[in-house]
Every structure is written in structure tokens, then in C-alpha cells.
Symmetry: C2
Subunit: 376 residues, 2 copies
């Protein structure tokens, strides 16, 4: 039999040893840790010294078993296209782990078992094994089967992305309309009067919100606006100072649509894309028409502020998601539920940040060059 396999970790300091070292009972050590105000200051100091000296940390399993608190929150990783992994996940997870850590919680990552794309079973397992105090769900749709399920389970949860009207409003999200309105004002301030919106082929709640925010602000400012790209929407709206046009070539590729607009009369001098990837298509379309992206040419903006934005030529102006505030809000609201407190408000909408770069009028080059980081 292999030495020490699957046994309690050798040499792990226990509360008993600390108690002996400090000359108190183990109960007093526990109190010093969980209710310091109930211990006499001098005793407390002696205990803390022993704890420090021995490098003691309570065994989390024992603590959880006894107290019921797991001190761990589960994050259900979105099951997305393996060919198109979420480029923001790293930044979001870092923010989530930091926010959780600041609240004394750890983060357990989980996913549906391979083959089984069913997130419900994965959630059930985790909950039944009592491994987490609550769940964080991301990329939530209005009518999301996960939301309904965890609601039925009675497990504390929060979602990144707003839930539907009939469902518990325990979400944190960004303000999509406001974000695009800011983009429009940014372009208007740069002197653009004819602007285009480039949306995804398939409309989702948040992309619809961006489109709507764009059109509303353009109208408010009296700009000539044209939207393209949405298969379901095909919507279009125009301001006072110019003729509106329907979303052309909604079925074709994004690049083709943009090129058509650029060749047409009254061509837009700026394009706001619904995502950074769409902005790449706009870059290509602009160049294919013999035009240039950036100052003196066609302005382009993206959405999400993916890491690559800073590396493009020119660097792409984009809308940055407030990942740390989002994570902090998610953790705060989740733990409030865990503690049994009333969750404040219905949902929380956080503001985005417009990051202006060369593609909309600053210096033409990328922010950095000559990479020396891990992935340079």
C-alpha cells in the first residue's frame, strides 16, 4: 500500500495543538477565531501567537460539516462554442475570485459532464453534495432553464445577465442602451453626422438593446442613422437630418452589408459595431472599399473591449465591461441571500466605460507593440 495515500494530510495542525500551545482549551481557540470579542484580550493575543507560530488554519471540511457554511460559491462555466471560447472569461474569473476572496469565499468552477450538455444535472450534483453556499450563473437568457431550476431548488444564486419578467430578479447586468448612446455621443462629438450600426445576424436580448440604444440616441441628436445585420429585426430608423435606409443585405455577410453602405449615397462616416468581432469585419469592409479606418477615414467602434482591441491597427475604440464592479455586486448579492438577508432592489444595472482609441480618431497605432508578456 502506498505510503500516506488518501489519508488526512500529514502534519496538518489541529485546533487541539494550538490550544495546547497556548495553554487554553480548544474551545477558546475556536472562540478566538469565530467570536474574538468573547475572549479576553491577553488570552486572545496568546492564542493568535500560537496560531501564527503553528501556521494553523481550521480544516474547512470539519468546519463546513459542523457549521453548514461551505464558504464556497459555485461558478457554472458557460458551455460555449469550443471554437470560440469567451475571451473575457479570464478577466471575469479573476475579478470573481478576488471579490469572493475579499468576502472570505472560494470559487468552485464546474461544468456539465462531457457529452451531457445539461447544466441542470451538474447543478443538482453540486447542490446535493453540499459543496457550495450559492451559485453564480453567467450569460443568462431571459427565459433560462437554469434560473427556473435553481429557483425551484431554493439555492441562493445570482446571474450575470438579467432574467425574465416572471423570474426572480437576482441579476447584475450592464446598461446596453446607455453604452451605445455613449458611443453615439462620442462619434457625434468627433463630427460624424451619418453613422451606421452593425449588428449580429442573430438578435439576442442584449444586442437588441444595443441597437435600440444606438437608434434612440442618434435620433435624439438628429443624426442620420442606419442599422444593419439583424436577421430578425431588419429595423431601421432615421433622424431629422438625413434619409433613413432599411437594413440592407440582412441575409448576406456583415462585410457585404457594410460595403454596400459605403458605396451608396450619403455613406456613413462612422460605424458602431455590436461586438469587437463585428468591428473586425467592418475594418475589412472599409479597406476593401479603398478607404482607411481611423482619423481622416471611417471611424469604427466595437463592444466588449476584448484584449485584442489594443493590438489592432488602428487600435479599436470599444465599450469596456466593468468586470470588477460586476463581480463585487454578484458576490455581495449572493452572500446576502446566503445570510438570509433581503436582497436589495430587483436587479442591478452597471455602467460601461467607453475606451477611445485610434479607430475613432486618436493616434493610429496600437497601444503597445513589441510584445514581451506571456502571450506576446
Amino acid at each position: 500500500m502506498p505510503e500516506g495515500a488518501h489519508r488526512p494530510r500529514r502534519g496538518a495542525t489541529t485546533i487541539e495543538e494550538v490550544a495546547r500551545a497556548a495553554g487554553v482549551s480548544r474551545q477558546t481557540v475556536s472562540n478566538a477565531l469565530n467570536a474574538p470579542q468573547r475572549v479576553r484580550p491577553e488570552t486572545l493575543e496568546r492564542v493568535n501567537a500560537a496560531i501564527r507560530e503553528l501556521g494553523y488554519q481550521p480544516d474547512q471540511s470539519a468546519r463546513s460539516l459542523r457549521s453548514g457554511a461551505r464558504r464556497t460559491i459555485g461558478y457554472l462555466a458557460p458551455v460555449d462554442d469550443p471554437l470560440d471560447p469567451n475571451p473575457l472569461m479570464a478577466g471575469f474569473l479573476e475579478a470573481l475570485v478576488d471579490a469572493a476572496g475579499a468576502a472570505g469565499q472560494r470559487v468552485l468552477l464546474f461544468r456539465p459532464g462531457q457529452g451531457t450538455a445539461d447544466p441542470v444535472a451538474a447543478i443538482d450534483e453540486l447542490v446535493a453534495a453540499r459543496q457550495v453556499d450559492g451559485l453564480v450563473l453567467a450569460d443568462v437568457l431571459r427565459e433560462d432553464v437554469r434560473i427556473a431550476h435553481v429557483t425551484g431548488l431554493g439555492v441562493p444564486f445570482v446571474s450575470f445577465g438579467r432574467t425574465g419578467p416572471g423570474q426572480p430578479q437576482r441579476w447584475v447586468d450592464i446598461g446596453n442602451e446607455a453604452a451605445m448612446a455613449e458611443v453615439v455621443r462620442h462619434l457625434a462629438a468627433l463630427g460624424h453626422r451619418r453613422i451606421g450600426y452593425v449588428g449580429a445576424a442573430e438578435e439576442l436580448p442584449w444586442t437588441a438593446a444595443r441597437r435600440a440604444g444606438f437608434l434612440a440616441e442618434a435620433r435624439r441628436l438628429g443624426l442620420s442613422a442606419v442599422a444593419t445585420g439583424a436577421r430578425r429585426a431588419g429595423t431601421s430608423e432615421s433622424g431629422d437630418s438625413g434619409p433613413g435606409r432599411s437594413g440592407a443585405a440582412a441575409e448576406g455577410s456583415v462585410a457585404a452589408s457594410v460595403r454596400a453602405l459605403l458605396r451608396g449615397p450619403g455613406r456613413p462616416t462612422a460605424f458602431a459595431a455590436g461586438s469587437d468581432l463585428l468591428a473586425l469585419d467592418v475594418y475589412e469592409a472599409v479597406r476593401a472599399e479603398g478607404l482607411v479606418v481611423g482619423p481622416g477615414g471611417v471611424a469604427v467602434t466595437g463592444f466588449y473591449d476584448m484584449p485584442l482591441c489594443r493590438h489592432l491597427h488602428p487600435a479599436l475604440t470599444s465599450v469596456r465591461l466593468p468586470l470588477r464592479p460586476i463581480a463585487t455586486a454578484l458576490v455581495g448579492r449572493l452572500l446576502a441571500q446566503v445570510r438570509g438577508e433581503a436582497v436589495p432592489g430587483e436587479g442591478l444595472e452597471l455602467p460601461t466605460e467607453l475606451v477611445a482609441r485610434g479607430s475613432s480618431g486618436r493616434s493610429g497605432g496600437p497601444d503597445r507593440s513589441g510584445w514581451s508578456g506571456w502571450f506576446g
Copy 2:
């Protein structure tokens, strides 16, 4: 006091209830779960039926406390530039969670406390609280303080990235030399005879390996090769069929170096970049010289196969990391240690996969267009 806060989760099924329902002792239920061969088939079936009916899962805390096995592995998220989050992390974590899940393990994500950039303290906390059976470290340097520390702690671990000569060889890594050799052969097969390597400004072990692999294979094939970009290296080597040149403008930007080469005599017809981000700079340099990237123009390849590769114009040929095999190997070797088995071999080098796209001679466009995914 809030109802049910911080108490053991209400309604959680216990092993006792299962035993009662199946008409056996709770011991038999435990055996049915942990040593099924020791239970009579008909009894086993009865117990399993009860388990299924009640949706029973053993309380992981109780199980861990008693058995010592946490069934959880810790992943120390790299502390990287917040402005440049790892775009491969999502894919790697998905692979890691899946591989761990297949082995009955969960993944706990952790990071140094905010402000405290010291990973050692974070490791100590996790280990002292006995929350994991072992650790996965990523982005490991040859002389890595984390490796030395966990070695001293006696905690099972594996690293993604090879460790130094004097340190325990418990790593999994990719074959950087072989990867670049494959790139060179790919370019040679397309008819390129004069090729350039574009490296990062700051040389790291793996980028040095890529450069060396590139130069060695180019020499072997008798190609004219020139390398640029490394601040420390400045190395250059030439094959038989052409004159070698020193890494020009090693201090300047990557784009400037590439442009100089493109303007010089015997200009390369293809560039292999040490990363996808560097390849973006090459794209720009090629265009700035009035040339075109792709078939009929200058071929370009990258490294890492970041998600964005497929979205560029033209789509970028790149070297894909075998994330799932890597994750499987990491988990396998880690759990072997946890079980006390001897770890096979010294370290494991896994092969990469060259993904040929438009930038090195296929169709010019991106692989997809008109995004409809989450981030499209």
C-alpha cells in the same frame, strides 16, 4: 434572526434516510457507494434504487473529513497583466474542469489576495485549510518560486510549463521546437524559400525554443532564414541558399523591423511569428509596405491559435495548443501523486497542431462571418 441562515442545508438527504428507505444499515449504503463489489447484487440494486429515488449524494464535507480526500484540485490562476488577460484561459479551464470531472474531482480556482501579489501565501492558506488534494500551476518559469514552495510543502502538484533542471520534473508542456519546425515545413511546402521569424522583444524560455526550432528547421531544409525581435538574443542564422542577416532593429518596434526586412534585398516571402499578437504587427507591416497578406502575397503564421485567428482578414494560420490532452495529462499525473503512485517519467511534452488558414495560402476570408454567438 433570518430563517435558515448558515444552517445545514434544509432537506438534504442523508445516508441514514437512504438506509431506512432501502431497509439496510447505513454502512451498507456506504459500501454500495464506495465498494460495490462487497455488496450482494440484489441488495446493491435496492440501495441504488433508494439513492436514485431520494436524489442522494454524500455530503462532501463529511466525506472529506472522514476520509481525508477532498476530491478537489486547486488551480492557481496566473497573475497576469489585467490589461492583457489570457485569451486561452477559458478554453484551458474548460478542459481542466472536464478532465477533473472525468476523474471525480472538482476544480477550485484561487488567486493571491488583492494587493498581495504573493502566490505563496495563497497556496499556504489553501493547503493549511486542507481544501484541495493537489495543485495545478500554470505559466511556470524554469526557476519558479511556486514550484520550490509547494515542493517544500510536500503537496502534490503538476505544472503546465516545464520546471528547471534541479526541480521536481512534474510538468506537462508543448513541444515548441517541433511546433515551429512544422511551421517551417508548412511554409516550405508552399514554395517559400526566404522566411523570417518574428519574436518578442523580451525572450522567455518558450519563445527562445520557438526561435531555435525555426532556425534549425530552416537550416535543415536549406532555406534562407532571418530572425528578428529578441532584445537579448539578436541571434540570426542562415541556410545554404541565401545570405544571413542579423536581427535588425531589435530595439525598435516589431512592425519597423518587419518593414525594414520587406524593403531590403532578398526580402522574405513569409513570416512566422512567435505569437498571434506579433502576427498582427506583421499584418500591419506588410500592408504598410503596400503588400498583401496571404495567397499571392506575404504568408504569415502565428502561435497559440487564439480565438481571434479565425476572425482576421485573412484568417491567421496558427499553432494550436492541445488543451484537452494537456488538461488530461495534468490531472492524471496529479492524481497519481495523490494516490501515492510513482509519477511516470520526468515530464511530458505534447505535440501541437498546425491550423492552416488564409494567411498562409488558403482562401482569403475569415472562417466565419456574421456573428451570432454570445460574443459576436
